[in-house]
Subunit: 751 residues, 2 copies
């Protein structure tokens, strides 16, 4: 205890990049003493600095950066094209296996003899470590990979506390990102608020001006680059009055300053724009995309914007959605709207990211025929093939809006000739608002692994959003394997080879960070930011692997050293259980939306029931759920390819967890689990609240192994969660008991 | 139509004081040409100015103000004590009948011979009109009374469009206010917002500073004085950080400036204070009322405040309520808390108005034993008799919080040795927020006429809050009658004689005004401000009489002249029907609270059902309502005196409109009306929505008779109301149909 108390309270600001001093290792390993970088490239400079910082922090001694190879061991960073020494470490075939933003790491000439027979050493040359890529961005990602190894966040295969292991690690890594676009969307407003932000104010803006705290932005860029994020939209998709001016001389110099900070970390900036800008900014009377004056206005605007920020990624557009302006106002469709902008951005290599979150938000709750779930498909499927090649449609993972449980959007796969981005939400808008623990990687994994059958079996979401399915370049046979040897162990990483046609595909996600000291409000919610980046890079990683990485990186070396061994599996298990726990005590069986409009923090069973948002459960004294079948309901189930259309159509085959999303059933309906719907509600809610309380108990049991600052801030959140889970339990159970009149079989307290 | 279009659009700013030009009368009547005022008194000066303004506006010619009587006819304004000519018009007995703020109006020596036998002329002296009082405030109220007569707002007895009638009116009026304190409470915050304000921003504050628009405040003072309001608290009872400083040198000069504006209209200013001021402002560690340092701090503070505003009315205090600080924090009771402040204010004649709105706002909805309705009685009844004589307890009309229907608070009458103020809410927080029409005078009348039986039959609320019941000076035999002769008619006004002991009794109400051009958002909501003032002056006035006055004053002369005759009864009927209409389509049978927490603008049947506010309906699939009986419920019914305790205890005798407030009954329970509860819900909601639509239709039918500006602004509100009433109808009906499974007997659409 005294040891714990001696330590300074940590805030969590350093997140997974704290690089705590490795107390088991006295000296900087020999091969870490010099970093060789020849190329005069900003991102390579960043890579070298990050490596230098990480190594000196972990080993208490600062490596030297050199522009030429030295005779002593060193680490070389460079591109195949520009750095001859680096290029020589790899055969032409090996170089060709690396995609634009991928990397190879290779090193040491003195493998541990004990393992010398267990792997093939033919590729290992010299007594150095080399981090190489086609581009400097690839090298930067490789450096962060190496740092993760050295921090010990890698599945226990490397023991960074072993001097011997560190002196002679064996590395042969090939890693290519599966997705070309790995983006984060900020919903930050210039007044400093963050729409659906649960971690304090914006780090970008305050009081309608840009922040002056560039250090904070740089630290954010480090976090993002360390997990491979390379695209960032910096303002809310709901573009209000002041934010509309971001593309004017008023703010473009600020945008350029921010872009410079992120550029150094290989991150491209995007701006969300107001579709009505020609009216607000240009004084035109229309924003009609087919009006030549409007098109000209945007062309001139693009010229102005790209003069200020030549490498701007492009525009993100929420049009004709939730009261935002768009082409519908002028009787035009979304392809008209997007293409006009795309033509304006084309000369500069800019992209238009066009959101498909378009639905009738003035729906009448009395009308059971209109179904919001159908909307994205109904709006965009007919436009397939009509978009320019620098337009990308951004589609939310589910048909509604980031509920704890939704089916996968049927628009994926249905678009056969249109580039798409998958949109996740790291911000826990409907999943506990970073006051409840909800590790979202398992949810995202389910989405990515979902097989749409769009082109037969194997048409998974991850292959659609990476562009692999439609570019036909991805097949199991083309996947390469690279052997990775680390320390005294070895394992294999399977990586997807690069596809030149996939530049306009990928994943975006809504940010969960803010100005809170620990970035994410709930410290454990950092795992979602980390996990999102890792998964966007490599969707084959399992939720367990990512959790393991994040927990090791974040917590190792934090408490007393001997205790840490318990800590890591315990926290990992908390993460892995958390989505299921959250789901169990909130809205049951896929029905969703049992929260209050406005703040979206439940419980409020009828909160959305009589609203205009298209979000209903239709519970009455007999049953509950939304009939979305083709036979008797809204027909939404028919938007899926076979076999899902059939699976969802029938209560016999519909998965329990989505039953109420697709069907209105009596409370006495028997689930596949063998339980009735009403008893399932009671059981899961009682159990869920108990399991939430156990999360807190687990944390308390780890107290001695945790830094006090970290312990306390997380405990406060878990205590709230445990209490709030009881509130969810009692309100949901009471609501359904009062409505159905059916008693709990186990006679537990319901009010 | 063309005539209408020619007129300038009115905003409603002049409210009932517009004094439109009397087009039927060419010249200023002879007796109006000179106003004689001898006394150098600010309020008398105001009275003369108001009279001069009103007369010149109505008759197109400005009267002269003179300090001495002239030989021509004139109007004399003055007090019995200081103005000898005025005093001579009344016998000592007649003077003694006038209370501190009452008045007599007397005039002309040449009655119409045709009516000379119909009334007693002995009191009529001279060829002048005299407005007299004990104080200049009384004279001011008398002047506004006279102006009301001349505007034609008096029950059709005076015809201001008749030259003959105007030249020879016969006036003999005695009017004394029933209540000594006739107060309005502002819930204005210094950031410019108004808590529960539905008519724009505050007219007092903006951006944490006082307004510089003193003209607007003066115009507000005119409106208030014209209906007899003489006390005004100018800041929200929830006193936030900045507002706490109102009693410091930072803001006291501003308070003094505002006080000066209202002082000229006979209105005394009060400040709401933060009970924790000694901590925030004084740097003390406690606000314990029994701590001598705290008491000294308040004594010094009172000295400072009264140095700045010598006639400040005192402090309004919301303590230990809805998270406000108070004596409970220190283990003290409310008498300790109030008396300490009262002692500090006593040297300056200040009062402490202490609100009884104290209840547990952190209640657990699972707990059916705790009953918020009981709270005021439970907290304050035991303290009866313990308060200083400059403490007044302010009690809301009902036990909950200004719902459209509540029983009368049982605390009235239960306090036998404590001074009380009755609190109404003019702001339509729960009654349509000034977007729905809801003329509240009928509701207030029911409260005032409610017989508590505290001291046997006749212990009405109006006698309790006027101080009459407890001062024993009020009895039927002591009530005097004064004959009033006006124009060609005559009628009687029954007035209560003054009671010297009633200085610390009366009525307060929460303001409904804001910076909107028409003061109240909904123009017709001006009737509630008007009606509140008139009722506080004279609770014997009927809702019909007050509506008639207000409609005549507001609308006469507005449209084409010949059409106005239809207008007045039509609008009056809209007002009189409106409370019942609003009640019928909202929360049924007294249960209340079917609105969303936060904004309180419904419908949201379960909005408060699982909250911590103590506001539940307990609807399940079998029935609804709160059991507040002594036999099986919370015992609230037992807080009433007999016979109400018994009447409310049994469903056999409980009035239908309060049934669900006192009882939990099955939906199939049969009401006294003969209808079941569920069918009553369906019927009233279908009918209520239809009647709301009829309000709009009536208004449309009056279009030609209305100023276009007035017509349009009210139409917009009535159209919204008609639509929103349908939403209420459908949501309430659907909720109960889904919950009960019982179909409407008439098979109307329920969803």
């Amino acid at each position: 205890m005294s040891k714990r108390m001696d330590m300074q309270k940590e805030s969590g600001y350093d997140a997974w990049l704290h690089y705590r001093r490795n107390r088991k290792v006295k000296n900087l390993p020999a091969w870490c003493k010099v970093i060789v970088v020849q190329e005069a490239d900003e991102v390579l400079h960043t890579a070298a600095s990050e490596l230098q910082h990480g190594l000196s922090s972990m080993f208490g001694q600062q490596p030297r950066i050199s522009a030429v190879p030295v005779s002593a061991p060193f680490i070389a960073l460079g591109t195949f094209q520009e750095h001859a020494w680096v290029a020589e470490r790899f055969s032409p075939e090996e170089q060709a296996e690396v995609s634009t933003e991928g990397y190879r790491i290779r090193g040491m000439g003195t493998p541990n003899p004990a393992h010398s027979t267990s792997h093939d050493n033919k590729d290992i040359k010299g007594t150095h470590v080399t981090v190489a890529g086609q581009t400097s961005k690839g090298v930067l990602y490789g450096v962060f990979h190496l740092l993760r190894y050295l921090q010990g966040g890698l599945d226990g295969k490397l023991d960074p506390t072993s001097e011997e292991s560190l002196q002679a690690p064996i590395l042969d890594v090939l890693s290519n990102p599966a997705n070309s676009i790995r983006m984060i969307n900020h919903w930050d407003n210039m007044d400093g608020s963050v729409e659906r932000g649960y971690a304090g104010a914006s780090i970008f803006y305050d009081n309608h001006a840009f922040t002056t705290n560039m250090d904070r932005l740089r630290d954010y860029a480090r976090l993002l680059a360390s997990v491979g994020i390379q695209a960032l939209s910096i303002n809310n998709v709901n573009v209000h009055h002041v934010e509309t001016e971001l593309i004017t001389a008023t703010f473009l110099p600020d945008v350029a300053r921010v872009a410079a900070v992120f550029r150094a970390y290989g991150i491209q900036i995007y701006l969300s724009i107001n579709y009505a800008s020609p009216i607000q900014l240009g004084g035109l009377t229309t924003a009609d995309p087919l009006d030549p004056g409007v098109a000209e206005w945007w062309q001139a605007k693009a010229r102005e914007v790209y003069a200020a920020v030549p490498d701007l990624g492009g525009f993100v557009v929420k049009a004709d959605s939730e009261n935002r302006p768009g082409p519908f106002s002028y009787g035009r469709h979304h392809a008209d709207g997007a293409n006009m902008l795309a033509d304006a951005l084309r000369p500069y290599g800019g992209r238009v990211i066009w959101r498909c979150f378009v639905y009738d938000c003035k729906q009448d709750w009395r009308d059971r025929k209109t179904d919001r779930a159908r909307a994205a498909f109904d709006h965009f499927k007919p436009l397939d093939g009509l978009f320019r090649d620098n337009v990308i449609l951004q589609i939310k993972n589910g048909p509604m809006d980031f509920q704890v449980r939704e089916p996968v959007s049927p628009l994926f796969g249905a678009l056969k000739a249109t580039q798409v981005l998958l949109e996740f939400q790291i911000a826990q808008e409907y999943t506990g608002q970073q006051r409840h623990l909800c590790y979202l990687v398992p949810q995202w994994k389910e989405v990515l692994d979902f097989d749409t059958y769009a082109q037969g079996k194997g048409s998974t979401i991850k292959r659609i959003v990476s562009g692999a399915l439609h570019s036909k370049s991805d097949s199991v046979s083309s996947r390469r394997k690279a052997i990775v040897h680390v320390g005294s162990g070895s394992f294999q990483e399977e990586q997807t080879s690069p596809s030149p046609k996939r530049g306009n595909y990928g994943i975006a996600a809504v940010s969960n960070i803010g100005a809170d000291a620990n970035w994410t409000g709930h410290l454990l919610a950092q795992s979602n930011l980390y996990g999102y980046g890792r998964l966007a890079w490599d969707p084959e990683l399992s939720a367990d692997e990512i959790a393991n990485e994040w927990v090791r990186l974040t917590f190792s070396g934090q408490g007393t050293e001997d205790a840490s061994a318990d800590l890591i599996p315990a926290i990992k298990q908390m993460l892995l259980d958390s989505w299921n726990i959250y789901e169990s005590y909130t809205a049951p069986l896929g029905v969703g939306w049992m929260v209050s409009p406005g703040h979206h923090y439940g419980p409020d069973v009828d909160g959305y029931e009589y609203s205009m948002w298209g979000t209903y459960h239709f519970a009455d004294c007999r049953g509950i759920g939304v009939d979305r079948t083709t036979a008797t309901g809204t027909g939404y189930a028919g938007q899926y390819f076979s076999p899902h259309a059939d699976i969802y159509e029938s209560t016999d085959t519909c998965p329990d967890e989505l039953l109420l999303f697709f069907h209105h059933v009596p409370y006495t309906h028997t689930l596949h689990s063998g339980q009735t719907v009403i008893q399932h509600i009671y059981d899961t809610h009682f159990e869920g609240a108990e399991r939430a309380a156990q999360l807190k108990d687990t944390w308390i049991s780890l107290r001695e192994q945790l830094n006090e600052g970290i312990y306390e801030q997380v405990l406060e959140r878990l205590e709230h969660q445990a209490e709030h889970a009881k509130e969810w339990r009692d309100r949901i159970n009471t609501y359904f008991y009062r409505k159905s009149g059916i008693a709990d079989q186990k006679n537990r307290p319901i009010y």
